[in-house]
């Protein structure tokens, strides 16, 4: 798999918040048609990494390559122009807007200068239906009245409406029920199969092993390993997450060589 060029690649990325140095020389690659799982303990820096990719945070230094070419991403607008979609862990929905309005935020459909509410409403309906949402009373309900899982579904639906090249999902199934989780995992697989590069963050290793092609483990802000899923066991991954190394696995020492 490593013979294809990554769709998106980071090299030697560092990020600090004031005195807190969160990401250390992080290398990351997302390949087209593959699901890359990003795992790590709470506070390892996974969300920070996602936000750095999406332009929400500016990295302190490091390289950012997209389709092999160096790019600069100054903000989320730049990332989405490149075709990168993100589901943030802290969802980032506007509570004062309704579901349809949130789903199309920043990419509203228009008829001339007038918003095309009917088209947006039907598309939103379709997208939600496909994610097995059954309890939402109305797509015109304000997001502030949604349950935790319903919100998460809206955030996911929002990001898969678009034909994007890379999708980053930060713990997308954390609040989801059994059926909804199933749908999202299927969706992730379908996205990858259609050639999209997917980065999936999850603490649920069963899910990770089910859908991921590669696993990148972060330990205290450093990449502890970057391996193909088939080459590791769940126990080894847990070890990587909690200690940063795995005795049976010779990856922690030089993670970059495995790419």
């Amino acid at each position: 798999m490593s013979d294809t060029t990554p769709l998106l690649q980071l090299r030697g990325v560092n990020k600090s918040f004031g005195v807190v140095h969160v990401l250390h020389d992080v290398d990351l690659a997302i390949y087209p048609g593959q699901v890359t799982a990003l795992v790590g303990d709470n506070g390892a820096g996974k969300s920070t990494l996602v936000k750095t990719i999406s332009g929400t945070y500016a990295a302190d230094n490091g390289e950012y390559l997209f389709e092999g070419k160096p790019v600069t991403v100054h903000g989320p607008k730049d990332a989405s122009a490149l075709g990168i979609e993100v589901v943030y862990q802290d969802l980032a929905l506007c509570e004062n807007l309704d579901i349809v309005e949130n789903m199309f935020l920043g990419r509203e459909k228009k008829n001339g200068i007038v918003l095309d509410e009917t088209t947006m409403e039907s598309q939103a309906r379709e997208a939600l239906k496909s994610l097995s949402v059954r309890t939402v009373k109305s797509v015109r309900q304000s997001v502030s009245s949604l349950s935790g899982g319903q919100r998460q579904t809206v955030a996911i639906a929002k990001s898969v409406l678009w034909n994007s090249k890379v999708v980053l999902l930060d713990e997308p199934t954390a609040a989801l029920g059994v059926a909804q989780t199933r749908q999202v995992l299927d969706l992730v697989r379908r996205l990858a199969d259609s050639g999209v590069g997917v980065l999936l963050i999850s603490h649920n290793l069963t899910d990770v092993f089910e859908v991921a092609d590669r696993i990148t483990a972060l330990y205290l802000g450093r990449v502890a390993a970057d391996v193909a899923t088939k080459d590791v066991t769940s126990r080894q991954v847990v070890e990587l997450i909690t200690t940063g190394t795995s005795s049976d696995l010779d990856v922690a020492a030089a993670p970059s060589t495995t790419v």
Binding site: S54, T56, G75, P76, K77, S80, A81, V86, Y88, L91, A92, L93, C94, E95, N96, L97, E101, L105, G106, R107, E108, K110, I113, V114, L115, T118, E121, S122, R125, L128, K129, V133, R134, T135, V136, K137, S138, V139, R140, S145
Partner: protein, 420 residues
């Protein structure tokens, strides 16, 4: 409700309100909504109604044709200023300088007409441009430098008073006697024009509403039953025709100087209200204003250029504030060095807030400004008829403001109690 949920199950996701297809259903749903505390504009209108009753009882001229026309013109400038502020408040910002900026624009207009012999068209455009420039500078300072809008606009509030003094210092005031400008607050539409305008508005509204309904039904989207749509159209027609009828009567107290027709201020406010409602409700820009106000970070992550929205909002605000300044100048016959200063802005913000706009951003509508502006103007109007000692005026103004706001607050209470 269980039924609906079960239905939803059967119909897949898209159940919504497409089910309630009869007027009866709709009425029941409305009653339930009100019971649940969700009353839309009702509470603030209720506050206004209470004021009307109080003043109507206190002075028998309050409800006279003449006084209703007075009220409309007196409310004009504060309604427009409050409307101008709504988008700024939607962002969670404030523009303390809007009143003074409006008067600065009006002064520029007045000076161009008086001292430079320009036509009113050119002068008005120059005034509006002045407002736009002030707004852009404010917006840039707030958005790009990140200075709190309270501080930036406090600085402009002071600075622009200086500019106003400099501009009109020598004369103390700029006389506004250009017929068109002065006519805004002082002249009336002809009786015929009034009727035509009312009927056209009703017809257009009806057509748009029915078209929209048809489209929604066709696409099986969430929609109200036909009966409700019809009811809305009829209600609008009754209100508009009623107002037109009243204002088309002669209301002069002076037999040999008849006054009738709709004051031009009213169509101006109506046009601005429609334009503003459209811009906030039906355009991408408006959607983004709400989004930034609701959650600026989420808006940014959705790829919205938050700075640009903020700058545009401040620009729109001061530009529209100039319109308010011009209406005020038309009403008073001049722009003076104190115009737009003092408590003008507190009143305007108060109007928007009483109407239901939140100071924390994300919640509010242009129509809030109309209701709130009417409340504020009604207080001054009603008290004016009572002619009490100054201190009583102050106290009663405060008291009545509280009364209107309490009616509003109390009638909204159940809403928050029920967690909405």
């Amino acid at each position: 409700m269980t039924d609906i949920i079960t239905d939803a199950e059967q119909a897949g996701f898209a159940n919504d309100l497409t089910q309630s297809n009869t007027l009866g259903d709709s009425a029941r749903a409305y009653v339930q909504r009100v019971r649940g505390g969700d009353m839309g504009a009702l509470p603030s209108i209720l506050g206004l109604v209470v004021l009307f009753i109080v003043f109507g009882i206190a002075n028998d001229r309050f409800l006279s044709n003449l006084n209703m026309a007075n009220l409309a013109t007196q409310a004009g400038s504060i309604i427009i200023l409050a409307m101008a502020l709504v988008p700024v408040l939607l962002l969670g910002d404030i523009d303390l300088s809007a009143g003074v900026a409006g008067s600065t624009g009006a002064a520029v207009m007045g000076l161009l007409i008086v001292d430079h012999g320009q036509g009113w068209g050119v002068a008005v455009i120059a005034g509006l441009l002045t407002g736009a420039v002030i707004g852009i500078v404010t917006g840039v300072l707030v958005a790009k430098l990140g200075i709190p809008s309270f501080v930036v606009t406090l600085a402009f509030f002071l600075g622009l008073q200086g500019v106003l003094l400099k501009l009109i210092g020598e004369g103390g005031s700029v006389r506004i006697n250009q017929p068109v400008i002065s006519g805004i607050a002082n002249n009336n539409m002809s009786v015929a024009a009034g009727w035509i305008a009312a009927i056209v508005i009703i017809a257009v509204f009806a057509a748009l509403r029915l078209l929209q309904h048809r489209r929604k039904v066709a696409q099986n989207l969430q929609h109200q039953p036909m009966a409700v749509v019809a009811l809305q159209i009829v209600a609008l027609a009754v209100v508009l025709l009623g107002i037109t009828l009243v204002l088309n009567q002669n209301r002069s107290v002076n037999a040999n100087f008849p006054i009738k027709g709709i004051p031009y201020v009213i169509p101006l406010v109506v046009v601005l209200l429609i334009a503003w409602t459209f811009a906030l409700g039906r355009t991408t820009w408006g959607r983004h204003v709400y989004a930034v106000g609701g959650n600026a970070e989420a808006a940014r992550r959705a790829g919205i250029n938050v700075d640009r929205i903020r700058i545009s909002v401040f620009m729109m605000c001061t530009t529209m504030a100039v319109v308010s300044g011009i209406v005020l100048a038309s009403y008073g016959g001049k722009v003076s060095t104190a115009s737009g200063g003092g408590n003008t802005l507190l009143y305007a913000v108060g109007a928007a807030v009483i109407g239901g706009t939140s100071l924390f951003g994300g919640k509010g509508k242009a129509s809030n400004a109309v209701v709130g502006g009417l409340v504020i103007a009604t207080i001054a109007n009603g008290l004016g008829l009572l002619a009490q000692a100054s201190w009583i005026n102050y106290v009663v103004t405060g008291g009545v403001l509280l009364l209107a706001a309490s009616v509003d607050a109390i009638s909204r209470r159940r809403r928050s109690a029920s967690g909405l």
